[in-house]
Every structure is written in C-alpha cells, then in structure tokens.
Symmetry: C2
Subunit: 194 residues, 2 copies
C-alpha cells in the first residue's frame, strides 16, 4: 500500500514567522466543535483527527498533548466571556448576572472545562483571566470581596443548574432574584479593594 494523495493543498506559505498556525487552529476549532456538540467525552484525539481526515498520532506534529488543546479552548472561552460581559450600563449587577448565566447555559461544556479544574495560569495568555473578571469587579465599585461573593453565587447557581441539582419544579429565576437582590442591596460595611 502506498500513500496516494497526501498533502494535496499547497498553499504557498506567506512570508513571515511560524506557519504551523493554520493546521493547529483547525485542530483547536474541531476540538471546540466536538466539545460543544458531543460534550467532553466526545473530544478524543482520534475523533479530532478523524474530522480532519487524518490519524490521531499526526495531531502530535502540531500539538504537544491533549491538555494543550484544552488550554487553548479555555483561553478562547475567557475571550468570549470578556466580550459578552463588557458593558457600560446602569443596573450593572443585574445585567452581569443575566449575561453570566446566559453565556454559561449556551456553552455548558466549555464553562465546565473552564471552572472544573485549577487554571493553567502559566500557559494562559497574559491578562485574559483578568479581562473577563473586570466587568464584575467594576460593577461592585472595586470591592473585590463583594465581587467574589457575587461571582460565587452566580457560579454556584450556574453549576447547580447545569448539573440538574435543583428539583425539576424549582423556580430558578426566583433564586437568582433573591441572591442578586441580597448582594446588590448589601451595605458596604467592609469594603476591601485589595
């Protein structure tokens, strides 16, 4: 058996730096699609390769390991979140909460990937995490304690909803209202800007 037509596309590498980018980006894109459509179990190296018409070991010519793919998806997720959360309105807290929940429910698997495990902060582009977090901190006038409490509440609501931990007849909107109300009407006695 001979390799008949491998490497058809000759794309004339444009002058400049590393040209690995194209293929690598394709791989990441496929991984993202598989994650969204088939969940974490659907993201296997063989499945990714198959979608690209190649075999799994070939992926390692472009990517060090699977973890690197996940890091790429996480970094991308932060960028998406930053865009979704950035705003300059009143009712900042309510707006943030709504957008946070919406984003998470629209990207459940990516959200889990981003929050399940410790962040690979060393491998993440600089500032990417900060930028996604800034809108929330601003909404609380720089009080990080309040911002963290609000974040924890939102994160808890979202993960419990995603994991279907509330009873089927639970009024999730009502719980959101109660929580947001409580935190935004909070008397800022112990404001911490650290």
């Amino acid at each position: 058996m001979t390799y008949s037509t491998q490497q058809d596309e000759t794309v004339a590498p444009e002058a400049g730096a590393s040209e690995d980018k194209g293929r690598r980006d394709e791989i990441v894109a496929v991984a993202r699609r598989l994650l969204e459509h088939h969940g974490p179990d659907g993201v296997t190296m063989r499945a990714i390769a198959s979608e690209l018409g190649i075999r799994a070991p070939s992926l390692y010519k472009h990517v060090a390991d699977k973890r690197e793919l996940e890091v790429a998806l996480i970094a991308d997720g932060f960028r998406q979140q930053a865009e979704a959360f950035e705003q300059s309105e009143e009712h900042a807290i309510e707006t943030f909460a709504r957008r946070y929940r919406t984003w998470a429910l629209e990207h459940p698997h990516l959200y889990r990937l981003m929050t399940d495990r410790p962040l690979p902060r060393n491998e993440l582009p600089d500032g990417v995490e900060e930028r996604a977090a800034r809108p929330l901190i601003q909404a609380f006038g720089g009080s990080v304690d309040h911002a963290r409490a609000a974040w924890a509440f939102a994160h808890g609501m979202v993960t419990l909803e995603l994991a279907q931990r509330f009873p089927p007849d639970a009024d999730i909107d009502a719980a959101w209202r109660v929580g947001i109300d409580a935190i935004s009407n909070q008397s800022a006695t112990t404001t911490n800007t650290r």
Copy 2:
C-alpha cells in the same frame, strides 16, 4: 499453576438474608479510601481489587459496575453531610455556612463526586438527599428561594476554592462574610415556600 489458598476466611454466614453485604461493603470502603487519598483518578477497578488482594474482574461478582460504587459513595456522603449539618442553634445560617465549608474542604473529592454530575436519584436511597438539605431550608424558615440562593453561594464559594480559582492572596473568609451577611439580612419580600 493452581490457586493455592483462595478464600481462607470462613466466617460462618450468620443466618438471614443476602450475604453479599460483607464483601460489597469492603469494596465500597476501599473505593472511599482511594478516593479520599488519591483522588478520582486513583479509584480504578484494578486498584480497588489490588487493595483487596484480588483481580479486577472479580469485583463484578459483587458490584454491577463502577457507577454503582460511585452511587454508594454519594449516598454515604449525603448521610455524612446530614449528620454534620443537623443542628438546633441560633445563628443557624452562619453555623450552616461554616459547617458546609468545613465538610467540603475535608472531603474535597467526595464533594466533587456528589455535585459534579446529575444525581442518580433513582438509585439513591429515599430521602437521603432531602435529609441533607433540610437543615439549610429550616435555617431560612422554609423559604426555598432563599435557601437555594444561600446554597448556590456556598456551593460556588466551595467549588471555586477547591478548584483554586481565587487568587492565592484572596481573602476568602471576607467573601464568605459578605455573602452570608447579604443573604441573612435579606428583606424577605418574595417568600416562596414551594
């Protein structure tokens, strides 16, 4: 090669019903220990078997599959939580929060196992989930919306802490204080007892 000394322990089965209990409980106990000490990746069927001096396939004489083991651990976790949370004090909310956090930090892997995925409610002993949840609902005088908001906050704080998502210098205690303060001083405008 012959099987030399298999099945040494002759324990004289006490009269009564199914005697699978003993071995099955041992298996669950080993699984729990492995989960606590080595995390979820340490809980493999081969590792469990090895601890018991047998081979992995033999486990299936006592347990249907790995999921059943996990369900047993989850049920046990709920029982532990119920005992840890049940109380009859004042400052119920603060006390609950402290105990909730303490329990989660003491059993991080079990906590994750219990909250990560949808509960196998069909396979769980009746009432076990309810009982663990009751102390919290009582602390809020039966308002399930407030209880859920508080639960989400606590769950969010705990999972973010376990996943090391707060910056290393973050004042986690302060965030807890802010959140608890907000929710317990909440004006109960929209009380829902459903």
